[in-house]
């Protein structure tokens, strides 16, 4: 948004470093397994079966992947709607993470879809649209990827406006002018779409309701998923800000993250309390003693402990505790999603599922691709705020 004066600058340095090469190797293995899957069917690489049609590709790559991509949504709400301009330096890296999280979730979906070549019909065959919650998710995610591309475009325009190519130069200048004028309307889309499809991701698991454990089956699932994605989004913003500051030797945003931590603590406490109270009101609290109670406790306690750390004025200001709290919140948030989509689901007797090794290679490949592309882009384009410090110049080359 106009009026902000902080400067974004590329990290610089070599893109091809040893860690980057390792990431590429993991991506390469995942790509080979993917190729194999397209020629030989899903069973040839995964343990997905007729009882568990959805496994880690859906629950982790897509359902968790898009939540990790909610950093842009969470920080956008804070900066633009709550008018907390002081957090603006966190926006651009968060939007990049969101784009990567969502973009790769779309790729993961395509790998998971048995009949992926028909995917183009989903947005185009309007006359066949049903009221399926999954259709809402599919359309919103596709639209949101476009919106994120537009939101991140100034980072590219800022670099290209100094390009020697005159076409690229004028295109970028016009793009920047357009963005300045239309930003509010694009940002509003960028906040509405995640609110819609993140809640619908919760609605989706209402349809398999009879086979979903009572601790997870509640009409409040869409609401829980919506608040959950905001918590995950904030946690990712904290981790990303801290790790890129360390890795690239930038000034740490410790005090900004501390005050952000206070906000997160409130939201996370609200979520954990709501989760427990809702289960108590339906009278299912006794089910915690059942086999799956542990999974329920994990998501609630991880979230609550994360919040507890951030409520402490002493711990909140220390980067190491910020990271610990964010990790707890991230794990708690992820647990809720994986639980709802995988752990809570029971297809009936005689079926079991645990991901196979090649299946996991695809998931690892997706995650590695996300990190690799992030590294390459922040080194090349102005994403992170501020200028690298002198110390950063020395260590920068090693990441």
């Amino acid at each position: 948004m106009s009026g902000h004066t902080e400067v974004h600058s590329p990290v610089g340095g070599r893109v091809m470093t040893r860690p980057f090469a390792i990431l590429l190797l993991i991506v390469g293995i995942g790509a080979l397994v993917t190729l194999w899957r397209f020629f030989n069917g899903i069973a040839s690489v995964s343990n997905l079966n007729n009882g568990y049609p959805w496994g880690v590709w859906i629950s982790i790559d897509v359902v968790v992947g898009t939540a990790i991509g909610c950093g842009g949504f969470a920080i956008g709400l804070l900066v633009y709607v709550l008018n907390r301009g002081q957090y603006h330096p966190l926006v651009r890296p968060a939007v990049l993470t969101s784009l990567l999280g969502y973009g790769l979730a779309v790729i993961a979906v395509t790998i998971d879809l048995g009949r992926w070549w028909g995917l183009w019909k989903v947005p185009t065959h309007i006359w066949r649209w049903t009221h399926s919650p999954q259709l809402e998710v599919a359309l919103c995610v596709a639209a949101y990827v476009m919106v994120l591309l537009v939101e991140i475009s100034p980072a590219f325009f800022e670099k290209w406006k100094d390009s020697s190519n005159s076409f690229l130069r004028s295109f970028s200048e016009r793009g920047l002018t357009f963005m300045d004028r239309a930003l509010v309307w694009i940002l509003a889309l960028g906040l509405m779409l995640p609110a819609m499809h993140q809640s619908s991701l919760g609605t989706m698991m209402l349809l398999p309701g009879p086979r979903v454990h009572s601790l997870w089956f509640t009409p409040w699932l869409p609401f829980l998923f919506l608040v959950n994605c905001i918590i995950i989004g904030f946690a990712v913003v904290v981790l990303e800000a801290t790790f890129s500051a360390i890795a690239f030797g930038r000034k740490r945003e410790t005090s900004m993250l501390a005050s952000l931590g206070k906000v997160i603590a409130g939201v996370a406490t609200f979520w954990a309390a709501f989760r427990v109270i809702e289960v108590a009101v339906t009278g299912d609290l006794g089910l915690i003693a059942s086999g799956k109670g542990l999974a329920f406790l994990a998501e609630v306690l991880l979230t609550a402990f994360g919040a507890l750390i951030l409520f402490s004025g002493n711990l909140r200001v220390r980067p190491s505790w910020q990271v610990r709290a964010a990790m707890l919140l991230l794990l708690g948030g992820i647990a809720h999603r994986v639980n709802t989509y995988l752990v809570a689901f029971t297809p009936g007797e005689n079926y079991s599922y645990f991901p196979s090794v090649p299946e996991l290679f695809i998931t690892f490949g997706i995650i590695a691709a996300e990190v690799a592309i992030y590294l390459a882009i922040v080194k090349t384009f102005p994403i992170l705020s501020g200028k690298p410090s002198a110390a950063g110049k020395e260590i920068r080359g090693s990441v």
Binding site: I42, V81, G118, T130, L135, A195, P219, F223, I230, N350
Partner: protein
């Protein structure tokens, strides 16, 4: 920061308000769907089934499905242990002490099918006349949400194929050529055109006809044989919102693999939430959210520019 925390909760409440409201009203009943007047179906009676599996073979034949050696890999068996990409119909055996019961598994052709509610482009669709839940691969992307959603674990998928399809019983709708006529009180097609499993059953353990006729037949069997059938109940009359395949059993339905469901259709909760947010007032809530967000941000920009102008 207390103010901002309160404000953030307020925004979450606004953006999520629609979701919350709709979630909360999910308990309100959606009108229960009724089967179409000409709904067809099947009636299976465990007391008549001898487990010969002629229906399994006939089904494979009628639907051109490959054999499946099941656990006996490389052996000369067709012995699927459950429904799968090559099996639309299965006979299972439940044993408990001296008691035993066969059980026939295939699509129940629900009155309010969850698979069709899950399907994005209506590849799985309930016929408005016959009520048959059919599959059209032309609009299927292979997402398998139908498999997740089916309360009876029926739709199966060809996981081992590069070009896979969803596989489920479609009541042999592809065999019908001529009109049905009344035979012994049941509306039936000429031989070779009805559901293959029913046509070959040597004991009439599974029969087909219109759902109303089958319900009547089931009721008269219950009346004629007091104490023979579990709870004197027809499974599928109301369970899971009603199904077009009906069951009579001498053992508990739950034990032979038919879970106890309320008379509310399975998609009811998801539909109520989804309709509350998007369709009751068509897209008014998302539109209002969009305008509201934009208005707040425009106001924020104005106040910020105003304060910056005052400073300089």
């Amino acid at each position: 920061m207390d103010r901002s925390r309160r404000a953030l909760l307020k925004v979450i409440a606004t953006t999520a308000g629609a979701t919350a409201a709709a979630s909360g009203t999910a308990v309100q009943a959606r009108a229960r769907l009724q089967p179409p007047p000409d709904a067809v179906g099947m009636l299976y009676d465990t007391t008549r089934c001898i487990g010969c599996k002629a229906c399994v073979v006939a089904c494979k034949d009628a639907n051109d499905m490959a054999t499946d050696p099941g656990p006996f890999e490389d052996a000369i068996y067709d012995a699927p242990i459950d429904l799968n990409g090559d099996t639309r119909n299965i006979i299972k055996l439940y044993r408990e002490g001296p008691q035993r019961s066969y059980m026939k598994g295939q699509c129940m052709h629900c009155v309010d099918p969850a698979c069709a509610a899950a399907c994005m482009l209506g590849s799985l669709k309930k016929n408005e006349v016959t009520g048959i839940v059919s599959y059209n691969p032309a609009y299927c992307v292979g997402c398998r949400y139908c498999m997740m959603s089916c309360p009876f674990n029926i739709p199966k998928f060809e996981f081992n194929k590069a070009v896979p399809n969803i596989v489920k019983c479609e009541l042999c709708r592809h065999r019908v050529k001529d009109a049905a006529a009344n035979v012994d009180g049941f509306t039936r097609y000429p031989r070779g055109q009805g559901p293959a499993c029913c046509e070959v059953c040597p004991r009439e353990a599974v029969i087909y006809g219109k759902r109303d006729e089958l319900l009547e037949e089931a009721r008269s069997r219950i009346a004629a044989n007091p104490g023979r059938y579990f709870e004197d109940r027809i499974y599928g009359e109301t369970e899971a919102g009603g199904t077009q395949v009906l069951y009579l059993s001498h053992m508990s339905f739950e034990k032979i693999g038919l879970p106890e469901y309320s008379d509310q259709g399975v998609p009811h909760v998801a539909y109520t939430v989804q309709n509350g947010i998007y369709y009751k007032l068509p897209f008014v809530i998302p539109a209002a959210l969009y305008v509201g967000l934009a208005a707040v941000m425009l106001r924020n920009r104005k106040t910020r520019e105003g304060s910056e102008g005052a400073k300089s």
